[in-house]
Amino acid sequence: MALNPGTDMEHDPQLAADYRRVSAEMPPASLDDRLRAAARREVGAGPSRKRFGSAWQMPLSLAAVVVLSVTMVLMMREEGVDRIAPDLPPPAAEAVAPQVAVESAARQGRAEASRLSPVPEALPPAVTGTQQADLAPANATPPLMAKAKSASAPPAPAPGAPLRDESVSAERNVAPAQETLRAMRRSAPVGAAADSAAGPTPGGAATAAMSAPVPVEGRVLWHDLVNEPAEKWLQRIAEWRRAGRTADANLLLAECRRRFPDLPLPDDAAVR
């Protein structure tokens, strides 16, 4: 049998041409449409329910993110103060500690009292004071807070509000520390109550200081006087005023007033 020109054992151009000329059947157009639609559905690009769903996918995702974010912020606001508090010295516990324990510590001398103090020595007093002001319960004793913040003597005490200036002064000194704490809050939101306690106005800070608990440092000031009569307290106050330790004297005076409410105060012991 003779092969066509260009033919080899697996190719026959003449046969191929003949076949191509007669081989023209095509699938019906309805099949074309059905298969194309199926292909689009498979990749989610066709006009199907899947596409309808994908059209809502973005808004629904955004709504879910917003709801979750708001929920998390609200939860963190509720739990924020409790979260930070364990990291700090427990001021409230110190403030409400039984007087017996304080007196017992005083009897053991200054060194022993210092050892019992839970305030870390490395912590700047301003930071400690500010944190305590931020987290202070409302019924805490005010004057000792100021001692923790400042050793400088503020001038011109206002009658009827003896320690306010002290607190304001202390607030000025702790401003950088408050900024640090605000930065911490921005990164980890805490409760609104804590935010308002660290408000930017000096009055607000003073209020926070007034409501602060008794800092442990303050107790050291009079640890050797706890069993002494009122005269000793007044004598110490007068000594400190003469020495220029106005802030300490004010703290001591406040404690003295608390211990001896009916004691008439001499002029040299008055708040300055």
Binding site: M1, Y19, V22, L31, D32, A39, R40, A45
Partner: protein, 189 residues
Amino acid sequence: MPTDPDATDETLMLGYRDGDAAAFDILYVRHKGGVYRYLLRQCRNAALAEELFQDVWMNLIRARAGYVVQARFSTYLYRIAHNRLMDHFRRHDNHTVSLDDESAAAIDEPVAPAGLQPDISAESRAQAAQLLTLLEKLPDEQREAFVLQQEGGLSVEEIAEATGVARETAKSRLRYALVKLREGMQSWR
């Protein structure tokens, strides 16, 4: 980015795998005729060929996520078609269809497609009908090898891969098919 209509089959299939539905449309237009005629020649029933044709493309659509280029796309596509055809034959136990069988009545008579190419003369139509008749008479495997070569443009190696046989087997089938067809068409040349 719009799909490149001149892209290779493999690129288009990868594009479809990655979510480009337009790539599928181009692939479909390129290969729908060949796949349909392959199935039609092998099962010799237009209705059945349409059903199998739909299954083949649906299988391709479903398998798109796992597509990787291991061979020419044509080989991949016709392997799907071959497997679907074999599956059908196994289920219906009519792999070997003889024109003498009772089922022959259900087989579409091979006719030259009229109207598609109006310039074809009566002699050419007769020649086409003769070629299709000869093709019908070929054993399934030999006919399959010839049709895969003509419709899918597959080489001997690719025919072997698509049909799951050794290269020499595919080569032998194709040779026998060509010899028989040439002999049958001798009177027209």
